[in-house]
């Protein structure tokens, strides 16, 4: 194999768009910081808008963009594995929260997807679209894999997860007043169960205890959903 064939293997476009995505991400993080972590300027949203604009300006079809940045997708696997570290760190909290804490997580983890699926069932949506909301409350890497297994649309699932996370954080201020929820453990559990990693980032802004409980809820809900959904679908297929 000579040098030229290696160069063909990694195209210039690929390197270019990976670099652009990296730069856009760094910019989006700076913008998020500039707006004092206002949830409307979440890096995922701002980053995706930037990429959309750049692809329009440079006449690059989004399909080509997806092909160029595919290395990002397979790096996601090892990064997801790193969630084992916070899970291990918070294992004491799972004991501390006890059966009641787990009950809150399980109920929240069941109710959210069931309501969404029931609502979509009232209207004329295709099955893959309906299945894509089942993973809405779990962290994106687990959601994408799980949606693949149960036959949904992974990209749509990822978008649903991000929207759920942002909406959850936006609603949380009103809802915590409505339910008179002022205990940081309860706030952390709620945000982690419903709004996964985006809610956890918000919980750490509240205080460290809420953050720890949120991390725990994110891990427990994510893992339980990712285990239970494929099993349920295997049984009913």
């Amino acid at each position: 194999m000579d040098g030229q064939s290696i160069l063909q293997f990694v195209s210039l476009d690929q390197v270019l768009w990976l670099t652009i995505t990296l730069i856009v991400y760094v910019l989006a993080v700076l913008i998020f910081k500039f707006f004092a972590h206002n949830i409307l300027f979440h890096p995922i949203v701002v980053g995706a808008i930037f990429i959309g604009l750049i692809s329009v300006v440079s006449h690059t079809p989004l399909i080509d963009y997806q092909r160029y940045v595919s290395p990002i997708n397979w790096m996601l696997g090892p990064v997801t594995v790193a969630l084992a570290i916070p899970l291990y760190r918070q294992i004491k909290l799972i004991y501390a929260a006890g059966r009641k804490g787990i009950l809150v997580i399980v109920l929240g983890g069941c109710v959210a997807p069931l309501i969404a699926v029931a609502w979509l069932g009232l209207f004329d949506f295709s099955d893959p679209v309906r299945l894509s909301v089942l993973t809405k409350s779990i962290t994106t890497p687990l959601a994408v894999d799980t949606t693949n297994i149960i036959g949904g649309l992974p990209e749509l699932a990822a978008a649903v997860v991000v929207i759920t996370g942002i909406l959850g954080v936006m609603f949380s201020q009103i809802i915590f007043k409505l339910t008179r929820c002022d205990d940081s453990r309860a706030q952390g559990l709620a945000l982690g169960t419903v709004s996964h990693a985006i809610g956890t980032a918000r919980s750490y802004q509240l205080n460290a205890k809420a953050g720890a409980f949120s991390t725990m809820a994110l891990c427990v809900n994510g893992i339980l959903t990712a285990i239970i959904l494929p099993i349920v679908f295997m049984l009913f297929d």
Partner: protein, 128 residues
């Protein structure tokens, strides 16, 4: 960062990749997401080890802090589906909104019932 640290950080990265591959191999036999199986394997390895190696902790924190980066492409791709859904897009978004609102109400209310009362009566001073 000394030379030794660099080597450790690289080893920690390789550990994550290795556990993902183990999970991937296992996913042929168990129909669960490969990343989830890798995660559980690493979790049990940490329980067995009894501690988190410093370099792994550092690499893990770095990866998870920048998790958002990996979701810019999928969110861009979601645009196709938004177009396909057409005028049903709002119905779809409403499903996401409604379920998020209700489940957040439920979890915060239930959590407050379970933890709020015992907190007020027992420990006031363990904040933070």
């Amino acid at each position: 960062m000394s030379n030794n640290d660099v080597v450790n950080v690289i080893l920690a990265f390789i550990t994550l990749i290795l556990f993902w591959f183990l999970g991937y191999g296992l996913s042929y036999y168990i129909a669960l997401p490969a990343a989830l199986l890798g995660l559980l394997l690493l979790f049990f390895a940490l329980v067995f080890l009894g501690r988190v190696p410093k370099a792994l902790e550092r690499v893990g924190q770095f990866c998870l802090r920048h998790l958002s980066f990996f979701f810019i492409p999928p969110l861009v791709a979601a645009w196709f589906y938004a177009e396909q859904l057409g005028n049903k897009l709002w119905l779809f978004l409403f499903a996401v909104m409604l379920s998020t609102f209700v489940s957040l109400c439920l979890t915060s209310w239930l959590g407050q019932r379970f933890f709020g009362e015992q907190n007020k009566s027992v420990n006031q001073d363990d904040e933070g």
